[in-house]
């Protein structure tokens, strides 16, 4: 949260001759983060001096810095300037003791302390110019002298205050009663800005005998609003439980200057100071007279925090020795009380840091930042090195990506989210997907279990400006609902589409995947015919390693491709990277180079369309035995010269002996034997080639 601090108002508490530019430069590195300095145009200029307003970011642990004095104290500590606080006369005690105001806290946990007093003879009107213009510079709209004074004191001290019109309360015996209680079921309140809220029973309200007059610590109610007719006011200076304020403010979507401060944790200690300050200003500028005893309901006293501080912690945590005297000066300038006890110190935490400072580390931080982080000398780690070395899995990720990029594929990063609509385009429902409770939109409603739909979507977006799309992604999918956390599994998926692409694209993609597997040292895989949700019947191959299915490669069903406005063949693959990792190997062993030359013969055959290459290959190897080194696929062809239902295969058989130079005649004998078995056992027709 940011606060606006007018320069000349700041100087009142922290007199310095530095220019606003110098102040900005010096304090920003020490914990007062000035994001902007705005120069104010002449009409609002006070006393002929030029006026600047600092826009300062305040972190959530420091609500005390959402105030002029809080900022002045920090700046003073950094610039080594003494803090000048307003002089406040003590609250008069010699007021008639007759009962004029009653205050009762029914929820001491939610409201640890409540200070209230009644003022009479108040003349409501515009604020003095000085107060009004300061409020405006600080970003608040002046309303009337009473309201403005409560806001002025809030800006000074960071403690929100409120004033009620005492005569608008429901009363008995003309004694106004303030009751701090939870809202009743169905109770409503209309706030100062005319919004009406229905309250829940866990919300804290300030009420009179009958109904709520304020949402505690958030906003005042219309009922007891201070108006020009107001004559008697009750001034409230209270403390509320931060969580309760935060919850109510969230549930009602009502954030105010008061709630923003209370929810960050203000201390119930030392409420007297802002209370007295407000009373003083109200008496000066509204003619109001204190007419009741000042009431302080404080059921359970809070004690100031004390922390044992061992000065060696400075060295232990920072690695640089800041002189103890300097450290003490810094702490004292920030309001800490330092008491030395032998080797230790006992530090009293100032009231305004009650929730923020918890231990030694907080003190070290304060010392270090005021001293200046920039003065500490950085050094590289000179401590023990972990025993493990780099995990291979990230190397394999790199390698896989590099191979695919080398094959002309572009890496994409799609969102881990998926929509019902995208799932439906691939024939899925969302029933197994993890659901986001608070998605940004329907587009981001579920977590995906499959990368392919996202790739299809990328292809769809790019189709009109591309002749060809080759993409891949390596990302996690989110599976399983059988434990609290889902199983996150890395998958590697790819997509290839080309204008007027044919089924041959399948083989090209197969080449890409096999090249990938080869590069990763996976050789023991088998392709099997498979079925899949996304792929067309017969156009799917599953990747199997030691009996386990670890992925697939296939042609996407035309109904789905048309859902993505893609014409022509789309081939995809999807590999379970998590499982596949177990089979990756960088291990290589030397294979002796062949000593003797090889003999090879080409062969052209015609076989039934549905006879698999695998069958032909193994038939050749089986009948050729040891002499067949390899069977090389050259081409498959169909056409006029091949009859319907058949296909031609053009292949090469390479013969080699590891023991001697193979004679051509010898190889021919084996070759003939192979031809014979192909003819008789596979019904092959040999075309002379």
């Amino acid at each position: 949260m940011n606060i606006l601090i007018p320069h000349n108002w700041l100087l009142e508490y922290c007199p310095t001759h530095l220019t606003s530019e110098e102040i900005t430069r010096r304090v920003s590195l020490c914990g007062v983060c000035v994001e902007k300095v705005e120069k104010i145009s002449s009409q609002e200029v006070v006393k002929g001096k030029s006026e600047y307003v600092y826009d300062i970011e305040v972190t959530s642990n420091r609500p005390d810095m959402l105030s002029l004095i809080g900022i002045a104290r920090e700046i003073g500590a950094i610039l080594k300037e003494k803090l000048v606080l307003p002089e406040i006369p003590p609250i008069p005690t010699s007021v008639s003791s007759s009962k004029k105001l009653e205050i009762e806290i029914l929820e001491p946990k939610l409201c640890p302390r409540y200070l209230g007093v009644l003022l009479e003879g108040v003349e409501v009107g515009p604020s003095p110019a000085g107060i009004a213009s300061r409020l405006e510079l600080a970003g608040l709209r002046p309303i009337n002298n009473v309201v403005d004074i409560t806001n002025y004191v809030m800006l000074e001290y960071g403690q929100p205050l409120h004033a009620f019109d005492a005569d608008r309360l429901d009363m008995q015996n003309e004694i106004p009663e303030i009751i701090i209680r939870r809202a009743k079921r169905g109770e409503k309140i209309t706030t100062l800005d005319d919004q009406t809220f229905e309250l829940k029973e866990d919300m804290l309200v300030i009420a009179d005998r009958k109904s709520p007059i304020a949402l505690a610590g958030i906003k005042g109610g219309k009922k007891a609003e201070v108006t020009l007719q107001t004559k008697r006011i009750i001034l409230e200076c209270a403390n509320f439980n931060p969580l309760s304020i935060r919850r109510t403010s969230r549930v009602l979507s009502l954030q105010t200057d008061a709630s923003a401060r209370f929810e960050k944790g203000l201390s119930p200690l030392d409420l007297e100071t802002p209370f007295a300050r407000a009373l003083d200003l109200l008496q000066k500028f509204t003619q109001g007279k204190i007419s009741s005893r000042s009431i302080d309901v404080y059921p359970k006293k809070f004690n100031p925090k004390k922390i044992e501080f061992n000065p060696t912690s400075i060295m232990r945590l920072l690695g640089e020795d800041i002189p103890q005297s300097r450290a003490i000066t810094i702490l004292e300038s920030l309001g800490f009380l330092v008491k030395k006890e032998k080797s230790k110190m006992v530090i009293s935490v100032p009231s305004w840091r009650y929730y923020d400072v918890e231990g030694e580390e907080d003190l070290v931080e304060d010392i270090a930042r005021i001293y200046g982080y920039h003065k500490l000398q950085g050094k590289l780690l000179d401590t023990r090195i972990p025993e493990e070395i780099r995990t291979n899995e990230f190397l394999w990720e790199e390698k896989s990506k590099d191979i695919l990029v080398g094959a002309g594929f572009n890496e994409v990063y799609t969102y881990s989210f998926i929509s019902k609509e995208l799932l439906a385009k691939c024939g899925y429902t969302a029933k197994d997907n993890l659901q986001i409770i608070n998605p940004l939109s329907q587009e981001f409603e579920y977590l995906r279990q499959d990368l392919v739909p996202s790739l299809l979507d990328v292809a769809k977006e790019n189709r009109q400006r591309s002749e060809e799309i080759k993409i891949f992604e390596l990302a996690r999918i989110y599976l399983g609902r059988d434990s609290v956390l889902p199983r996150e599994e890395r998958h590697l998926a790819g997509l290839w589409w080309r204008k007027r692409g044919q089924t041959t694209l399948f083989y090209q993609m197969k080449g890409v995947v096999e090249n990938l597997l080869d590069g990763l040292g996976v050789h023991n895989f088998v392709w099997k015919k498979g079925e899949g949700q996304l792929v067309v019947n017969g156009g799917n191959a599953t990747l199997n390693i030691v009996g386990k299915e670890l992925g697939f490669l296939g042609i996407v069903k035309p109904t789905f491709t048309s859902n993505f406005k893609l014409k022509d063949t789309v081939v995809v693959f999807d590999l379970n990277f998590e499982e596949l990792l177990k089979h990756f190997s960088a291990h290589k062993t030397y294979q002796p180079l062949p000593k003797y030359p090889a003999v090879s013969f080409d062969l052209s055959i015609v076989i039934p369309e549905e006879t698999l290459w695998q069958e032909v290959e193994s038939k050749i190897k089986n009948s050729g035995r040891k002499l067949v080194e390899r069977v090389q696929f050259l081409e498959a062809y169909r056409g006029k010269q091949i009859s319907q239902g058949k296909k031609g295969l053009f292949l090469r058989i390479v013969y080699r002996s590891s023991k001697r130079s193979l004679k051509e005649e010898e190889a021919k004998v084996v070759h003939q034997k192979i031809i014979h078995s192909l003819k008789t056992e596979l019904g092959t027709i040999i075309r002379e080639g």
Binding site: S28, L29, G31, C33, S60, N61, P242, R247, E263, R316, L317, G319, E320, E361, V364, E365, A368, R369, Y373, H374, L376, G378, K379, L380, L381, T383, R384, P386, I389, R390, T391, E393, F394, K401, G406, G408, N410, E411, V412, Y413, T414, S416, L434, Q435, I436, I437, N438, P439, L440, L447, V458, N462, R465, K470, I471, R476, Y478, V484, L485, E488
Partner: protein, 348 residues
């Protein structure tokens, strides 16, 4: 007679060798050949005269003549090799477009991650992976952010529905990790000291505009051991920034507050666009990189460590954000990273 001829042969030889040195083209080679070695050349002319010599001197002169001829021919052949083969000319339109070789591109995020990973590997960090769908405990509570703590507002967190089975028990809330810090306590639970790890991973926040995407990447560093100090953190971050941004850019540590570190700060780098002068893309010449600090004692305790004996530091920064600040690549809208327009991806 004989001595005269011998002298002449010597003269022809030295003249020819001198000539040969000046030759630069094929054409000159040819005229040299005609002048000295041709049928009507100087050498042939001299040779013809041998037969007119007295028989006694003929063999000596003949041997010398052959010697000269052989030497000149050798020299001529050598020269020819050095001048090159035939004078054939071809024409290539060197401006004609070449066939495109299909080259793929690594996504920008991968490129950035690799660069970051390498820098930290050099100083002994081990890379880890942790869940993206995480319990509220590891994402917040163990990081010193109790339920309903206002500090949680800084993360626009996505919540994930539990399966019905666990909903009934209402035990845990699930979130999509809003930061990589959710790996910190898991790391301390699972690994012995010394810890020096990095976690580079996807993070999720409920924001989408030109500066925010609901899914982005962070890199986290966590170092825990006895004797880890603030100056180490400053040194490691300084080293990273120098390697990543180069010498020309400065960094500063600006005190800040995070629940899971104490002391805490944010690191700013001089804006690469205005070179630190101040522009509308930065805060007075500085761009914010991310947060860092000494691990909070409560976080150390959550990880089973004794804060009196062990200290640590941590940082978690945005990958995309840092990369944009490094390169000044001028990408105007962070969402473009995840729109996967191939025309965009192919630029990198």
């Amino acid at each position: 007679m004989a001595s005269e001829l011998i002298e002449k042969l010597e003269a022809i030889k030295s003249e020819a060798l001198k000539d040969l040195l000046t030759i630069q083209s094929k054409a000159q080679m040819e005229s040299f050949r005609i002048k000295y070695l041709g049928r009507k050349g100087k050498l042939a002319g001299a040779l013809k005269k041998i037969k007119d010599l007295p028989a006694a001197t003929r063999p000596v002169a003949g041997r010398l003549a052959n010697c000269v001829k052989r030497d000149l021919e050798t020299a001529f052949q050598d020269k020819r090799k050095s001048i090159g083969g035939s004078d054939v000319r071809i024409f290539i339109d060197i401006t004609e477009p070449a066939p495109k070789i299909s080259r793929g591109h690594l996504h920008l995020v991968t490129q950035a991650i690799r660069e970051i990973e390498r820098i930290f590997l050099n100083i002994g960090f081990v890379r880890r992976r942790y869940p993206e769908v995480e319990t509220d405990y590891y994402a917040f509570e163990a990081l010193n952010m109790p339920p309903d703590h206002p500090a949680r507002d800084e993360w626009e967190t996505f919540f994930v529905a539990l399966s019905s089975k666990y909903q009934a028990q209402n035990k845990e809330k699930l979130v999509l990790t809003p930061h990589t810090s959710s790996g910190q306590v898991r790391e301390m639970e699972n690994h012995p000291l010394p810890i020096r790890m990095m976690n580079i991973s996807k993070c999720y926040r409920r924001q989408i505009d030109i500066n925010h995407v609901p899914m982005f990447h962070q890199f986290e560093g966590l170092v825990v051991d006895s004797g880890i100090q603030f100056v180490h953190l400053k040194g490691v971050l300084g080293y990273f920034c120098r390697e990543f941004f180069g010498f020309g850019r400065k960094i500063r540590l600006r005190p800040f507050h995070f629940r899971f570190t104490e002391p805490s700060f944010e690191v700013d780098v001089t804006c690469g666009l205005c070179k630190g002068k101040g522009c509308r893309y930065c805060k007075q010449g500085w761009s914010e990189l991310g947060g860092a600090g000494m691990v909070h004692p409560n976080v150390l305790r959550a990880g089973g460590q004794d804060p009196k004996k062990v200290t640590g530091f941590a940082f978690g920064w945005g990958v995309e954000r840092c990369y944009l600040m490094k390169e000044n690549i001028g990408i105007p809208d962070l969402r473009m990273f995840y729109q996967n327009d191939l025309r965009f991806l192919r630029q990198f």
